[in-house]
Symmetry: D2
Subunit: 206 residues, 4 copies
């Protein structure tokens, strides 16, 4: 009898425990121990300007708790890098009012090398852009918009940050190189993307 | 016997508890009783073509359970319509390779009339676009991209659907009016936006 | 005899005169007394920034000998203004990453009010754009590109000047208002357009 | 008799003079023996679709009397090809809503290999674009517009033709490959560019 009672108590305890665990589980786990989101920052840089911006984007993304950030030159990015990421931020210098040939070829390789189409393997990942260019209003907007357009064609979820289309820097003329304000915008972009990726990743994983 | 009865009762209770826990727990609640998301479809139409597309976008959005859809001409949209929405889908005919003056004025009014700036009151709402135009490659892409650009400047989260930039229809020439394939794309856009809005709304509401 | 001599003299004079007139006529007339070309500068301005740029564009165009320049707000432009011009330069403030509703409506009116389609009445006229915007990389490029796109759809001949897409000014932040460099770019745009309009007008009139 | 002889001589001289004047004068020379203009058509093609369009563009340009046309793949174009041309028409397949990496790299090489900057060696040459893409409204406009943007940055004089931004073809779906209407548009583009190049070349040669 005693043992039966013990079984009864144990079962009661089990039921109680499950109830408590269950009711507490989801909310706290999601809010206090967030799933890590992985952000890939891919860039091309000849002079080092876009690289400096890329590093600031990384810094901004890392400032969001639970974010893993991978920084790579576009030529180094693998299919695994792309598919394992929750968000991809692509940066390019402006060459003739558009992303550089290296960055364009990187996007072409999504299809030719990485085979992301026709399954739309990048679907619902977050996408964003940054750009550096010699002059004001000489292609940074178009560079960012066409990066975002490539991402939209991949059914990615696209955001700006640190500027109307993304973060950008003017690297010649009165404001040579990358200044503090531009780095701040790059950080804001990284943070923004990590925030949105977290929002979507958390919801998707339920 | 009593103890056996108790064990049976306890087991029954355990099963019941697990059922209740399950039905209340986040996963099932989110999937079976989703939070309603509100999608605003705003359009301008002179000939009725863009209106037909708008109606198909509405149909697509409504096909996602728990979605409330509001359909309005851009001139009828109020600040309350905008601020209470989780997603906004804007459609325009192509006039000279861009959205119509009516749609552009609608966006200008976000600031001049509705005062969404500088607080970025549309932040994190989902945005998308659709367009109709007489000819192929004569402005539908630019119309959709510039609608999305306006949304990105508002810190909205932007998606495509039913096409690389959104849903579109060619209304003159060999394919006059709106055909079935174009309506299917419009529905796909509505559904895509509702899906993403739900994803983000669910996560944000935690 | 005397009269015959006189006839000889007169004929000689006639031949000489024709030779002189002819040899001098075409070249000098085209190069030294150029056909006047008419440049229309049309703009929208709320704060006065785009107006200041417009005035500098006018100044630049006037610096080219034989150029007649008309400066008007977009709402004041008539069909006659458009059709009698050899070149049209349109300027807009950036509202949500695009030209203002006023400027967009102006372009829509080319069709709705002025009936330039389907005869393409603006064909072969020179077109160009300028823009002012609060921030760097927040829509000035898109504004100018979409103005140019509207012109291309009208079979106009499009040029830049004073910048990669046209002249532009950043009016807030560190560089509030319109500075000297921006005015210089606006003048360069006006001059560039007048130069190209002259080139084309001269050739067309042969 | 002497005076009659003189009159005859003078008349003969007058006729001779007028003939000489006429043959030398600009008008007749320019209209009857036009300066040849050189049009370079440069393209990238993987499947042959863009190549077929390129050939039709060539055909259209050749239909304008006094036009010399050179057809080359972008990778084959030399600095001499560029600098000796009066007009350049660039064609690309759409890869992810933009020109292909090959075409983008071609433009980058204008600077890196051919050294056209900072002297703006392409200034005042006529530029135009064509594109092929699998779907309607999935990047052909952006591809053409960004080709034109690269040309505008080079201070070229830009035109459309055979469509609002240039000639384009949809190569998959209901309208697989290149159809007659699309070839007609490609020819119209070639003709348009040759016409404008002639207009400008003739005037510049004064």
């Amino acid at each position: 009898m005693a043992s039966v009672m013990n079984i009864e108590k144990l079962l009661a305890l089990a039921v109680f425990s499950l109830t408590v665990i269950s009711s507490v589980s989801h909310k706290s786990w999601a809010e206090e121990i967030p799933l890590p989101v992985k952000v890939l920052v891919a860039y091309h840089s000849l002079t080092g300007n876009t690289e400096r911006m890329a590093e600031a984007v990384v810094e901004g993304a890392k400032s969001v708790p639970g974010t893993i950030v991978v920084l790579k030159r576009v030529g180094q990015v693998t299919a695994e890098d792309l598919f394992s990421s929750d968000a991809v931020i692509v940066g390019s210098p402006v060459y003739w009012s558009n992303m550089s040939g290296e960055v364009k070829t990187f996007f072409d390789n999504w299809q030719f090398k990485f085979g992301i189409f026709p399954e739309f393997k990048m679907k619902n990942k977050v996408g964003a852009a940054f750009a550096t260019g010699g002059q004001i209003s000489s292609g940074k907007e178009v560079t960012m918009l066409t990066i975002l357009a490539a991402m939209l064609g991949n059914q990615m979820i696209v955001v700006s940050g640190g500027g109307a289309f993304g973060a950008s820097a003017t690297t010649e003329g009165d404001s040579a190189g990358i200044d503090e304000k531009e780095l701040t915008n790059a950080k804001a972009l990284g943070q923004r993307v990590a925030d949105v990726a977290k929002l979507i990743s958390r919801s998707s994983s339920h």
